[in-house]
């Protein structure tokens, strides 16, 4: 229904994107001017202590960084989850349990079995 609308609305939120910067000993913060700390905005006095806060827009921008596009070295292969679903039959075959056919075909009976009460 409103697939795209939420994305266009969320960036208007007031909470700014921030990132934490590790400052070595002796590094002086510009007094009274946190907006020009080396790493950007720094919250040092939020009620719960320092929090690393990012808004949705900032997180989405990071998605495009080159490192974010490399799959993790240790990403487990779970067909249909971390690799194309077309590999599912081989994966099921590798498992010693011959239960792939009921799993792959949710039937009407199963639907009613797990229907949730509201």
């Amino acid at each position: 229904m409103s697939g795209g609308s939420s994305c266009s609305q969320t960036p208007s939120r007031a909470i700014p994107a921030t990132r934490r910067v590790v400052l070595g000993d002796g590094v002086q913060l510009p007094p009274g001017d946190y907006s020009t700390t080396p790493g950007g905005t720094l919250f040092s006095t939020t009620p719960g202590g320092t929090r690393i806060i990012y808004d949705r827009k900032f997180l989405m921008e990071c998605r495009n960084s080159p490192v974010a596009k490399t799959p993790p070295r240790d990403l487990p292969t779970i067909p249909g989850v971390t690799s194309p679903a077309s590999e599912e039959p081989p994966m099921e075959a590798r498992q010693s349990h011959p239960r792939n056919s009921p799993e792959n075909k949710p039937t009407g009976a199963e639907e009613s079995q797990f229907e949730m009460d509201i």
């Binding site: 974010a68 009921p102 799993e103």
Partner: protein, 245 residues
């Protein structure tokens, strides 16, 4: 009540240990996964942000679970059905995982993604969860992928502003509807749960009339008839609890 929890915890940790050994022997796919993770697994080696990456407030672990019909329902099979996908410490590392996982809306069958702080298992028994609860939102089909993304981005970005309270989030893909939930540590902390609810409304752009349920994990144990999503979410744990005196 404490005894009940303790009993459950003992039960489950026992199952868990046994489980990891058993499954490595009889389940080839799982064995491979465990090996592949090897020494770089989140469990064994600290996951830290890479150079020039944007650190997150907490490390998080992705989990995936899928109900396998036809197997005996027990806590053991629950443990076998849930797999760690991996742990990340930075925004960039999050995207590396997320971009190489299917969207919840494209999952088949009776599946869940769980995203929990590193060290918190997506189970009631975990110390961080045992006094906790969760907000539940039921979604009609077609909305899960977008809502899940908005939910976890808000969690990773510390948008909830409830200190240490957030434990993790779950998206449950079911046949008629999908469910997203966010778990917090202290179910009795009404200020916290109210703030989580309001943040959820904001980050998910929920219509004002959206029904949101808060369920304490203790209630889920005590009131089986009203569990609603709990059975599909954790069918096997559910069985365990029925047997607890």
């Amino acid at each position: 009540m404490n005894n009940k929890f303790d009993a459950l915890k003992d039960d489950d940790s026992g199952d868990h240990d046994q489980n990891e050994e058993n499954s490595a022997q009889k389940d080839g796919e799982k064995e491979k996964t465990e090996r592949d993770k090897g020494p770089s697994s989140g469990k064994r080696k600290a996951v830290v942000p890479g150079p020039a990456e944007h650190p997150l407030q907490y490390n998080y672990t992705f989990w995936y679970s899928r109900r396998t019909p036809g197997r005996p329902t027990s806590s053991q099979s629950y443990e076998q059905n849930i797999k760690q996908i991996g742990t990340f410490a930075s925004v960039e590392q999050f995207w590396r995982f997320y971009s190489h996982m299917v969207r919840p809306g494209d999952l088949t069958g009776h599946s869940d993604f769980h995203l929990f702080k590193e060290g918190i298992k997506p189970m009631w028994e975990d110390d961080a969860n045992k006094n906790g609860g969760k907000w539940i939102i039921r979604l009609r089909k077609g909305l899960a992928s977008r809502c899940w993304e908005n939910l976890i981005l808000a969690m990773l970005g510390e948008q909830f502003m409830v200190g240490e309270e957030i434990c993790g989030a779950v998206v449950s893909v079911r046949f008629q509807e999908d469910i997203i939930s966010i778990w917090n540590k202290t179910a009795s902390d009404q200020a916290t749960t109210a703030r989580i609810r309001d943040t959820l409304r904001r980050v998910l752009n929920l219509p004002p009339n959206t029904v949101m349920e808060y369920k304490t994990h203790t209630d889920s144990i005590k009131m089986p008839g009203r569990l609603g999503p709990q059975r599909p979410l954790f069918p096997n744990l559910w069985k365990t609890r029925v047997n607890v005196p």
